[in-house]
């Protein structure tokens, strides 16, 4: 099959866990520091997200869209990248990615409150519409799947410039139904572009479940049709995600071409603060997935494998609580955007034009 010649990754999905002899992280060559870093970002993402819901219920922010349930995917992939070198084109659930790539809690809360100094859009876009030039996180929009096309363009530019940057673009499984996803996959495959298509499959597109969304039921199975590996991975296992992402990044950097990753998890919240998920899914289903969710799972791993003690984890939790409180209190007092600026940035200003090369 087209992919087998191109990759060591079993392209019909289902990877077996790493060898049983060594522990999972040892097999991956990860040490305590990296594991606790991963834990820090996973928990930070979850904690900021929970705070956003609280603020929403308090009427302090009209909208939230959540990363809860996606943290293992987002942190696992981010840790496989070179910060400041590689590109990321996120979608609205990728708070974890943004944090791991450098966005601060304060910057996050500036966006949540739509404040003037929000670096993603100056309060022009809804929360969750990330974009941070200094971290090479490309601005995203609401129309689903457009980012896949941008990503292959970013990767094409890297190839034309002879740079070994890697580009990662993410979206939900619903996004794979869009023509843009297909057109981007095809162009990436034709030119062996250094891009990773990360599909965060959380079982629903708002209310539409996978059987009504993805013909055949498997996103990963579509990789072969584009001559690229399609890898399915347990999206609640941060180390499993890290492993496949690292291999995908290696392939991309080595010029071996794109990889499709389908990371399976579950959306633990309603689609957004505007949604009521009781109309379309049962509470039992949610409970089943809660039992498998990424945060307690990784916490348990850290303890069982002896990497960290309850006490160490407690200190991290404390640190995070402090940062979340600080970010909230600080951002809340920051200035809001001014009406006078509404007409700015339609086109480059005369000054910007003068400097443009």
């Amino acid at each position: 099959m087209a992919t087998s010649t191109k990759s060591k990754v079993d392209s019909n999905g289902r990877r077996s866990k790493s060898s049983a002899t060594k522990s999972q992280h040892e097999a991956l060559g990860l040490g305590k520091e990296q594991l606790l870093d991963m834990w820090y970002y996973m928990l930070l993402a979850r904690s900021l997200d929970e705070r956003m819901w609280l603020l929403n219920r308090q009427g302090k922010a009209p909208f939230v869209i959540s990363c809860q349930g996606h943290e293992a995917i987002q942190i696992g992939v981010s840790f496989a990248l070179e910060r400041g070198k590689d590109w990321f084109l996120p979608y609205y659930r990728d708070l974890g990615v943004c944090l791991a790539l450098g966005v601060t809690p304060r910057e996050t809360m500036l966006q949540h409150f739509a404040k003037r100094d929000d670096p993603s859009s100056g309060g022009r876009q809804m929360p969750g519409h990330y974009g941070y030039k200094k971290y090479k996180i490309v601005t995203g929009s609401s129309p689903v799947a457009t980012q896949f096309c941008h990503a292959v363009g970013v990767a094409l530019a890297s190839k034309l410039k002879g740079s070994d940057e890697v580009t990662v673009v993410s979206g939900g499984e619903g996004a794979t139904s869009k023509g843009d996803w297909h057109e981007a996959m095809n162009l990436a495959g034709i030119h062996d572009l250094p891009v990773i298509f990360l599909i965060e499959n959380n079982q629903y597109a708002i209310s539409v479940p996978v059987p009504k969304q993805v013909a055949g039921g498997s996103v990963a199975a579509r990789g072969v049709g584009y001559g690229m590996p399609g890898v399915e991975v347990d999206g609640t296992d941060v180390l499993a995600v890290y492993e496949v992402a690292r291999e995908a990044a290696r392939r991309a950097r080595a010029g071996e071409g794109p990889t499709l990753i389908e990371a399976k998890t579950y959306r633990l919240t309603a689609h957004s603060s505007d949604d009521n998920d009781r109309t379309y899914r049962g509470r039992e289903e949610i409970e089943i997935w809660r039992a498998k969710e990424p945060i307690p799972k990784f916490r348990q791993y850290l303890l069982d494998s002896g990497v960290a003690t309850e006490e160490e984890l407690g200190q991290i939790k404390q640190r995070i609580d402090g940062e979340v409180n600080d970010a909230t209190d600080w951002a809340e007092t920051q200035p809001v955007p001014s009406a006078d600026d509404t007409l700015k940035h339609v086109f480059a200003s005369p000054e910007e034009k003068a400097q443009w090369r």
Partner: protein, 327 residues
């Protein structure tokens, strides 16, 4: 007659048409058990079942394109774009296919479908949940584009759209969904496509608007009346084909025209309204044809201050009416 909101009137109209004609079915994202993100199809999945209330994959082009095919094969699809802002991927299917099929086949084929789209801003929807698209679709011959401003028209126009043999783009202003209420008769009636309505008589100037902007105009008009200026108000109702006759007649009577629309100013649909007046009623005009519109920025920001700056409102309209009255 019961008083209903826009959303209730649209729901009633759609439900009654599905009860009347089993060829009518709805297809769109989250229209099934979820009942649509605004609740227009609330309860439909239970009442009509999954064959007539189809949750589509996240793919606007095939939602529109499959509706075209189903219409050609004898059905009466009512497709929903979750937000007008997301209809762009379907523009090829709507503009190049649905709109042109009767013409290109010399009348052999036709496409009896309706595409519903919530549009418009002022609801903290930001750049991509606030757009107005009537100028884009209105420019395409072969499409009938409708924007109801009140519950009575909404139900009657939707029924007329579903029964029309050609494609109709049915735009619903999100701001009116729950805010605008009005008397709606139970049971069947239609409101004709292609006819504007003079919703208020006046002799000193004509204000032309549709959708949410019509209500802002009516507010401003009350103020003007207090100042002794009687403004005639025309509700365009059908964007395209445009009812020029009603508009031009009114302007010939009042001698002054103000066009109000929420869309970006340049190339907005009000430009066509203004141009039509300048072509047909120039010697009746005692002043410029003014426009109150959204500014020429890509779209509406999320934050309150800039969204408010963007949206036309009664104050801005009042300001223009005074300027025109003083002219």
């Amino acid at each position: 007659m019961a008083v209903k909101t826009m959303i209730e009137a649209i729901r009633d109209g759609l439900r009654e048409e599905m009860e009347r004609d089993e060829r009518v079915f709805v297809m769109g994202e989250d229209v099934g058990p979820r009942g649509g993100v605004f609740g227009v199809t609330d309860g439909f999945f239970k009442q009509f079942g999954e064959n007539r209330v189809i949750d589509a994959p996240l793919a606007e082009s095939v939602i529109a394109g499959a509706a075209i095919g189903a219409a050609i094969n004898g059905m009466r699809p009512v497709a929903e774009m979750q937000f007008a802002d997301f209809s762009h991927p379907a523009m090829d299917q709507i503009m190049n296919e649905a709109a042109k099929i009767r013409y290109r086949s010399n009348g052999a084929f036709n496409v009896p479908m309706v595409v519903r789209m919530p549009y418009g801003g002022g609801i903290h929807g930001a750049l991509y949940h606030s757009q107005s698209v009537e100028a884009l679709y209105g420019h395409i011959p072969g499409l009938t584009v409708v924007i109801p401003s009140n519950p009575y028209d909404a139900k009657g126009l939707l029924k007329a759209a579903i029964r029309d043999p050609d494609p109709v783009i049915f735009l619903e202003h999100k701001g009116t969904y729950r805010l605008i209420r009005g008397e709606v008769p139970d049971g069947d009636y239609t409101v004709p496509l292609g006819k504007a309505a003079v919703v208020r008589e006046g002799s000193h100037m004509t204000a032309i608007a549709y959708g949410m902007m019509l209500h802002h105009c009516l507010k401003a008009v009350e103020e003007m009346a207090g100042e002794g200026v009687e403004v005639e108000v025309v509700d365009v109702r059908t964007i395209s084909p445009l009812d020029r006759e009603t508009i031009v007649e009114s302007v010939k009577k009042t001698g002054k025209a103000l066009v109000v629309y929420e869309d970006n100013r340049s190339g907005g649909w009000g430009a066509e309204i203004s141009a039509s007046i300048a072509e047909a009623a120039i010697e009746y005009l005692d002043g410029p044809i003014l426009r109150v519109t959204g500014p020429d920025v890509p779209a509406m920001p999320y934050n309150h201050a800039q969204e408010e700056f963007f949206m036309p409102n009664p104050e801005k309209i009042l300001h223009a009416m005074r300027e025109l009255a003083a002219y």
